[in-house]
Amino acid sequence: MQLTYSAKQQAFRAEVRAWLKANVPSKPLASYDTREGFEEHRAWERKLYESRLSMVMWPEHLGGRGCDLIEWLIFEEEYYAAGAPMRVNQNGQLLLGPTLMEFGTEEQKRHFLPRIASSEDMWAQGWSEPNAGSDMAAIRSKAIRDGDEFVINGQKTWSTRATFADWIFGLFRTDPQSSRHHGLSYLLVPLNSPGVTIRPIKALNGKDAFAEVFFDDVRVPASNLLGAEGQGWHVAMATAGFERGLLLRSPARFQQTARRLVELYKANPQVAERDPSVRDAVIESWMGAEAYAQAAYHTVGLVEKGAKIGAEASINKVIWSELDLKMHETAMRILGPYGELTGEAPEAVEHGSWLEGFLFAQAGPIYAGTNEIQRNIIAERMLGLPKA
């Protein structure tokens, strides 16, 4: 056990810190759940890419730096500490990217990966359907082979920012006789294809944060198939593990929220006198975020030594989503009557960002596999309890 950073790691940290100091916009970008904000965030991604900071773990020929997981953690720590913009293309960069690297043809990799790193292509995901939520294997949307094309019919839903995105990836039933997780294929579909209809869904924040996507005889070339036909479930699950979970929600994000919460608490000392339990919640929040960071470093160390991480990813998901909720609930209690004020309110605290975060935190225990599903996975795969 050796918990100090190497000179190379320290130099990388210093470089990232200096770059962010010089480049992070002083005024927050518009919400990426709006058309205007989406494009502002795309421009920010482009800027990161030009300094090879959009995907630091990707190899150099794809615009990255070939960083290892420790350097990635360092990057994230600096990124969140600097209050840099939210990452708008995580679907493409963290979910699709690694899948392409593992299952894509050379041509697919060459075409798509650089455009993902630069966010020239912005991606939405197409997993859920109206009757396939937690039970994702109940997917019914079809993609029927017709010569060199697939013809897609069906409906996807809860596709984050699909209203503004360029492409969607997802699972479609290519074998109409199949059931459950058999006969599904992983397809890449341009959202401007004829026959695609997008109906925005307003989220809690009143913005078009996600959408329903309807497919009506949408034709895509067979070359848009990722992995083998009928193997879509396997392709989608292969990269569903620890790395993906950790990358999606790095500990730095929560450590930064915890730090801001401590500051908010210190700035409102009268709250502690009126309700001592708030102080306890602040301390618990800091400890939770810190534990998540230490767990990440520990796990990264094990992964670098060759360990395979399985159901622990489900523990991560439960922990960070419930921690995020707790931190934002605590902030709302500290803000008291100012908590409800939106960013437009003249008297809003910190541009209403706690409220935004509080609303988004409500989704945490639901998206990316509900926490009930995650707890089932922990119980069955880690503890060996029998299936229902």
Binding site: Q294, A295, P386
Partner: protein
């Protein structure tokens, strides 16, 4: 940056675990705890043969010279097998205290050698614990008096035993008269030694609590897999699964905190108090939940003396307030992170 253990550290832990699995099963512990003294000289001798008592005695005194980081693994095993306080207090906490004394302190080296050989029991009395564990068989009792370190033989102190609900515990209220003969270290240096000893005691309890949590989880998993109701194992019901999944989550996220704290203590980091208190809180919380959810999924069986869960659960309850209760450790965390300009946030995980 490498937040993992060496092969040697892991192998030692594995060896001790296998040994204790055979030598300290619940039925043997019940017999031992049922005696007045509650201790087995035979088990103690065997543990010493395995090298447990020599673990952090320096090599010059016949020990293995390992540090808090190794103990963060070993204390989990002591907890998992509910090994009574005397082992951790002698081999880890008292050894740490003796190691911290100036090298020319009379009898220090001799005492360390005897610990390594496994033929001495030392009880440690820090003011954070009103009652002291395992005084009743101690050869030597190390006591705090206004920051000074005093060392006395058991026959030179007064003690009154106070039974605990944890059958493994043997607690006493100690009275003694500090004098020039008993003085080991003056207050000026003594305060620093006691501060470090408190951290070591808290970390010993943290590790044991985490081991206890794991034991209670394992017992609960075994039980819900074999116990059937409505024609199925109760472990197939979501409500039961989720109780145990929550315990697994608490345990997994307490481990790295324990290791982080052990590292801070071993390296004498400035913020060791903060990390140790965090670890104590996280590990004890895991044990507390493992007990609560453990008894719940055991149903009425969990409320009995007969089922082994109670042995581990009561020990977890007892340790929860030992070496600093929650209020004590929470205050230390609060004082550190709420201080003006406290180095907290994503950039300070390891550089606070």
């Amino acid at each position: 940056m490498d937040f993992t253990f060496t092969e040697d550290q892991l192998a030692f832990r594995e060896a001790i675990s296998r040994f204790l699995m055979t030598e300290a099963p619940p039925e043997i512990l019940r017999e031992i705890w049922d005696t007045d003294d509650g201790r087995s000289p035979e088990l103690r001798r065997k543990m010493a043969e395995q090298g447990l008592t020599a673990l952090s005695v320096p090599e010059e005194q016949g020990g293995l010279g390992m540090d808090d980081i190794a103990w963060s693994l070993l204390t989990q095993e002591l907890g998992y097998y509910a090994i009574a306080d005397s082992m951790a207090d002698t081999a880890y906490v008292a050894t740490g205290l003796l190691n911290a004394l100036p090298a020319d302190t009379p009898r220090r080296d001799e005492m360390l050698s005897r610990i390594a050989e496994g033929n001495v029991r030392i009880a440690v009395g820090h003011s954070v614990n009103p009652l002291i564990a395992d005084v009743h068989l101690a050869d030597v009792v190390l006591l705090e008096h206004q920051g000074e370190v005093h060392g006395l033989r058991r026959d030179a102190i007064g003690y009154e035993r106070n039974p605990s609900i944890d059958s493994s515990r043997r607690l006493s209220r100690v009275t003694f008269h500090p004098n020039a003969d008993s003085l080991v270290l003056g207050a000026e240096q003594g305060r620093a030694v006691w501060a470090q000893t408190l951290n070591r005691g808290a970390l010993a309890v943290a590790g044991q609590s985490l081991g206890l949590a794991q034991r209670m989880l394992d017992l609960s998993v075994d039980y819900v897999v074999q116990r059937k109701q409505f024609g199925k194992p109760i472990g197939s019901f979501q409500a039961v699964k989720h109780h145990l999944a929550d315990v697994a989550g608490k345990i997994e996220f307490a481990k790295p905190v324990l290791y982080r704290a052990a590292h801070a203590l071993a390296r004498g980091e400035a913020n060791a108090d903060l990390h140790v208190s965090h670890a104590k809180l996280a590990c004890c919380e895991a044990a507390w939940l493992a007990g609560r959810h453990g008894i719940q999924v055991h149903g009425a069986m969990g409320y009995t003396w007969e089922v082994d869960l109670q042995m581990f659960m009561k020990r977890a309850w007892a340790l929860d307030s030992s070496w600093g209760d929650r209020a004590f450790h929470k205050s230390r965390v609060a004082n550190a992170i709420l201080a003006p300009d406290a180095p907290i946030g994503p950039q300070f995980t390891f550089e606070g």
